[in-house]
């Protein structure tokens, strides 16, 4: 379950890597909207908007409710599980950084601030 959650978070973040999708996501953060509303505001066709919304929905970032004949999309409240996923990732990263530091043999004074980047990703 945990693995599933983590990979889902990765998918969600990956989905936001697309600039148009991120714009749609941000638009929905402002207010819920239907496909036609979004297509009217963005330089993207309705089918393209629908496709982006489908991806965002699949990874759990947005949800839709039917209002009359329209599907209105809004952000999916992430709930506490989202926070857990985020912190899980954060602490894993932080402890890995801590391990790299603590295993360096040079001692350091408490006040010392090292500006060296800690294990930047390639």
């Amino acid at each position: 379950m945990k693995t599933y959650s983590l990979s889902r978070t990765g998918e969600a973040l990956g989905a936001l890597g697309d600039p148009t999708r991120r714009t749609i996501f941000e638009q929905l953060a402002e207010e819920p909207a239907a496909v036609v509303d979004l297509a009217a505001r963005l330089p993207v066709s309705r089918p393209a908007v629908s496709q982006h919304l489908k991806v965002l929905k699949e990874v759990g970032l947005v949800r839709d409710v039917q209002v009359g004949t329209r599907h209105v999309y809004s952000l999916d409240p992430v709930g506490i599980e989202g926070m857990r996923e985020y912190l899980d990732r954060f602490w894993s990263r932080a402890l890995a950084s801590f391990k790299a530091r603590v295993e360096q043999h040079l001692e350091s004074t408490p006040e010392q601030r090292t500006e060296q980047p800690l294990q930047e990703e390639p």
Partner: protein, 163 residues
């Protein structure tokens, strides 16, 4: 691994004596804290972890400003430290202690040169109504929009390695 729905836990084993592990984690926190995870709004100069119960944990900006984001709840060298997590769902300093979560770190010696570090971040529910704050956070600059964007950029770079 915690099954508590309002907590996350993780652990790591480091090749260092327990005293050193404890000291680096606390007083030398600036040397390892992920550099992109600071809520102070100006370039970071250092971080301070006051080594005592009731102490403060704060970022110090290059302009001298201070941003306290934790309070030391328990300080028991070299085996245990507990501090509050005074960071809100909107990724800003939480001034109401009742809405802060808590981090406990235990340092378990495994011989003279190895230490197991067990971390639990708990009472996440104190932050409020789940993470439905996402919507508000995304709308605020420097909030989730920034965090998610950074992660997304990072992942995109990792997978595509430049367009």
């Amino acid at each position: 691994m915690s099954s508590n729905p309002t907590a996350v836990s993780t652990s790591i084993t480091v090749e260092a004596p327990v005293e050193r592990a404890f000291r680096v984690f606390t007083e030398d926190i600036a040397s390892w804290w992920p550099s992109e995870h600071h809520i102070i709004g100006v370039p970071l100069a250092t971080m301070v972890f006051e080594p005592k119960a009731g102490g403060a944990v704060y970022d110090v900006g290059e302009d001298g400003s201070r941003c306290q984001w934790a309070r030391v709840v328990a300080y028991e060298p070299p085996t245990r430290v507990v501090f509050s997590w005074d960071i809100s769902l909107q990724w800003q300093v939480e001034t109401d202690p009742a809405r802060a979560s808590e981090v406990e770190v235990r340092f378990v010696p495994e011989g003279d040169t190895r230490t197991r570090v067990e971390l639990e971040h708990r009472h996440l529910d104190r932050h409020g109504d789940g993470w439905e704050g996402l919507r508000d956070a995304v709308g605020s600059s420097g909030g989730w929009r920034l965090v998610l964007g950074q992660f997304a950029d990072r992942m995109r770079k990792a997978s595509v390695d430049r367009r």
